[in-house]
Symmetry: C2
Subunit: 273 residues, 2 copies
């Protein structure tokens, strides 16, 4: 059976739109773009589209890709105090001469639409129930909730990919009383863990890493990443076989994208409070 | 076989003492004490003893336990800018009317001897190799290193206790390429994970939770917490039987204490740089 990311995302967009339409408050989301690679441009288009849809004013702030770290930080400090901007984010990746961590450290936690500043991450790790959480991890948790997939008491295996996704997800799951295993490419016997898992979140670059024989009948598969080989897209999970096996699985190529954007909009509204 | 925490801690104290004696630099560690319960007083005594031993000036700053949150924060801000103080820490727990997180948030990351401020924790989570890390987790990692117990590629199970210990430990292990499972009191089948573990770090309050039949021959056991029942101390691991079985295990009642204090002194010296 397929998990319908898109339907859930659309439900959230609809709710936000009603909320904002019926309120006096104005919201403005600024996205900083430095490195104009095509995935970044594509992601930004989606953000713009959905911001407009839910009545959040969208503003793209572009800089030359040879902008200095100092200059970029000073621009961020301006946004931190600009009362018109509800929330903002820096589209990653940045060019190599800029230290992303240093940039993120300078974003005011109150306006950090991506919720990746030290204070916000700290709140996630330390289990602050009021914490606002990074968009993709928040999207995954929301999806599980909408599908009434209980996390507490369950075994969850995360097969890693990035700081932005898997560490916050791991911490959220741990907080929610899941027995959580974080695997990596050096894991000795991945099957030992996946076979015993109620939920598997995979975000590697290994085509069809997850096969039917590695799962149990009830495992739910959240597949977050894919690889491209010879212009063909391969997801981490062998989707067709797994779906045939009766497991609940995220669709290919439905992807986590819409949910992540939905969480960005939700965070913007939260930041406005 | 027994893991000798104390020997390793003493080696670190000796190295620090030589380093400080042979340098012109002066170090001063301040500990803030609000709630004067007897474990806190005992921990502070140890800190004072070892600070003196390694030639770090020790200073205890006591406040009344009805001090307001605002007043405590203003005292912390004074220490943040006091040039004589190399590093400082707040002895936890604090009285209930004070929000510990808010207090810790106000400690300057540069002087945070316990390394528990948002920025420092963030650096641990995000794998900053220069990050200074919370004392008990740092002690555990140092111990494994001294005993040449490789972490990369290994299966590690953490049986939880607290934000201060297990979450940073988990993040450090994940960063070091360990396949890391975080269990809790709701874990369905703890044995499934422990049986498959190269290293088990336990910090619960369950007397003799870990028994021989839950381990494999090669599991290393780091037992960090204990419970007291009828004035008798019970550690998480059934020490006698496990040692007889030939596993490498931390001693009872050797405890992690000396290592934690050693890391506190090491952090103070690092903060002075």
């Amino acid at each position: 059976m397929i998990i319908d990311w898109k339907k859930i995302a659309e439900k959230i967009f609809e709710e936000l739109k009603q909320k904002i339409k019926n309120s006096w408050k104005k919201y403005k989301l600024t996205v900083i773009l430095v490195w104009k690679n095509s995935p970044s441009l594509r992601y930004i288009k989606q953000k713009e589209k959905w911001a407009n849809y839910v009545w959040i004013e969208f503003n793209l702030l572009e800089f030359d890709d040879n902008i200095s770290e100092e200059k970029l930080i000073s621009e961020i400090k301006k946004l931190n105090t600009n009362k018109e901007v509800t929330a903002f984010m820096v589209q990653l990746p940045l060019p190599k001469h800029i230290n992303s961590e240093k940039i993120i450290e300078n974003i005011s936690p109150e306006k950090d639409a991506d919720w990746f500043s030290p204070v916000n991450l700290w709140k996630v790790v330390l289990w602050d129930e009021n914490a606002l959480i990074p968009c993709t991890p928040a999207g995954i948790m929301e999806l599980l909730k909408e599908y009434k997939i209980e996390v507490s008491w369950k075994n969850v295996t995360i097969i890693w990919r990035s700081n932005i996704v898997w560490k916050p997800v791991a911490n959220l799951l741990i907080n929610a009383w899941a027995t959580t295993t974080i695997c990596n490419s050096k894991t000795k016997n991945l099957k030992y863990f996946t076979k015993n898992s109620d939920i598997i979140i995979s975000a590697t670059w290994s085509p069809h890493l997850l096969k039917v024989e590695m799962l149990n009948k009830n495992s739910v598969i959240i597949d977050v990443w894919f690889s491209v080989i010879d212009k063909k897209i391969f997801w981490d999970a062998d989707f067709k076989e797994i779906e045939k096996n009766g497991n609940l699985i995220t669709p290919v190529p439905g992807w986590v994208g819409p949910m992540t954007v939905a969480m960005l909009m939700k965070n913007t509204v939260k930041a406005g409070k």
